[in-house]
Symmetry: C2
Subunit: 223 residues, 2 copies
């Protein structure tokens, strides 16, 4: 895989997690496009990123166009909008595209951070049903803290737990993750594992609160 040929599109790429991942993929050398519902917001984020990574300019566009032109489509909208976003863009994915789902359903009721239980077991399994069968869905970057990704000066030291029912798509995403400095892909198995990965994010949010940090992430030791 040549990273400089890989087209990565970020749907909802103007949020902190989206910007952070766009930044890291751009730093890795991928061809990155920021998608948004309004082209002005996409441009603002792309402009910001281009200040940080001038040698590898990031492009931008409306979500539909970015999805149509990307091989890795990263869904980085808040979970509450994820299903509707996917459904309205169902036909936009090109053949061979892979959806990378980073969403985590979380609530902050009464000051407590809680995982929102879904009938399908996880956000990834929930969103899988909103996508055309031939488009693989890969869960990844669920446990990477937005704050850390978005800080260009922060060195990463985290594992990216990658789960999918499509082994080939999972392998492609894992290969591409290796290009991002400080991130190591770990094969987390089938999409069933998203139930664990999403809860690990909720646990990390709790750890961040208790330890007054914003940087908690995981490494699998003994590998």
């Amino acid at each position: 895989m040549n990273i400089n040929e890989l087209k990565v599109g970020l749907i909802g790429g103007t949020g902190e997690e989206g910007r952070g991942l766009a930044l890291r993929w751009a730093m890795a050398g991928a061809r990155v496009a920021i998608g948004s519902r309004t082209i002005e917001r996409a441009r603002t984020t792309a402009d910001e990123l281009n200040q940080l990574v001038p040698h590898n300019p990031v492009s931008y566009g409306e979500n539909s166009r970015v999805i149509a032109e990307s091989e890795f489509v990263l869904l980085t909208v808040p979970f509450a909008h994820a299903a509707a976003t996917l459904e309205s863009h169902k036909q936009d994915f090109r053949a061979g595209a892979i959806l990378i789902d980073i969403t985590v359903p979380v609530s902050f009721e009464q000051g407590r951070v809680r995982y929102v239980e879904l009938a399908e077991g996880s956000a990834s399994e929930h969103l899988r049903t909103r996508l055309r069968d031939e488009i693989p869905l890969v869960a990844a970057f669920k446990t990477e803290p937005a704050h850390l990704l978005a800080d260009a000066s922060a060195k990463l030291d985290c594992d990216v737990l990658v789960a999918s029912d499509d082994k080939e798509a999972k392998a492609r995403v894992m290969e591409a993750v290796k290009f991002i400095e400080g991130l190591r892909p770990v094969d987390a198995g089938t999409l069933y594992s998203a139930r664990t990965l999403e809860r690990m994010t909720v646990l990390a949010i709790g750890i961040n609160r208790r330890y007054k940090i914003k940087t908690a992430c995981y490494r699998v030791m003994g590998l």
Copy 2:
């Protein structure tokens, strides 16, 4: 806390996880007792451990006696026997004792490792209801691999995620974990987090299988 005054009892201490934890606590300098339903089995395990850690002899006894004499009671029976074991020993816990629950409900149907969903949300929450109210339950060591703990020559490099609704008991367990070389306690919040910790064990078992290792454990980075 003086570790050499801490009495640690292992219920079902003849299994691999129990033996491994007994070994690590003995190496740390705690006063360790192996409990079993039959005193002969407890003695066999204690004898084995005393070969490995001759400077800090491990004692043994029937479960009832070991529970009555321990401040930290580690429940290391398989999950399938955990509730019944606790219920039959409900009255044996002394005042001030803490139950450390390491159980994980897991099934291996059709070659697939799966988390067994419980009505209460986790094994720890399930077992909490089987214990007298005044005995705190602390979830810990859920994600530490038995194989790694039981191998005296293996250096540990894992975080012990510790969860409890009783803050004081949690703090005591975290303090004591620090005495075990290579393990770092991390405050994982309330017992609700056991839902995540137990699933992380299932994920680690899957990672072990895919990577053909037996040593996968976790570290929280950025702390």
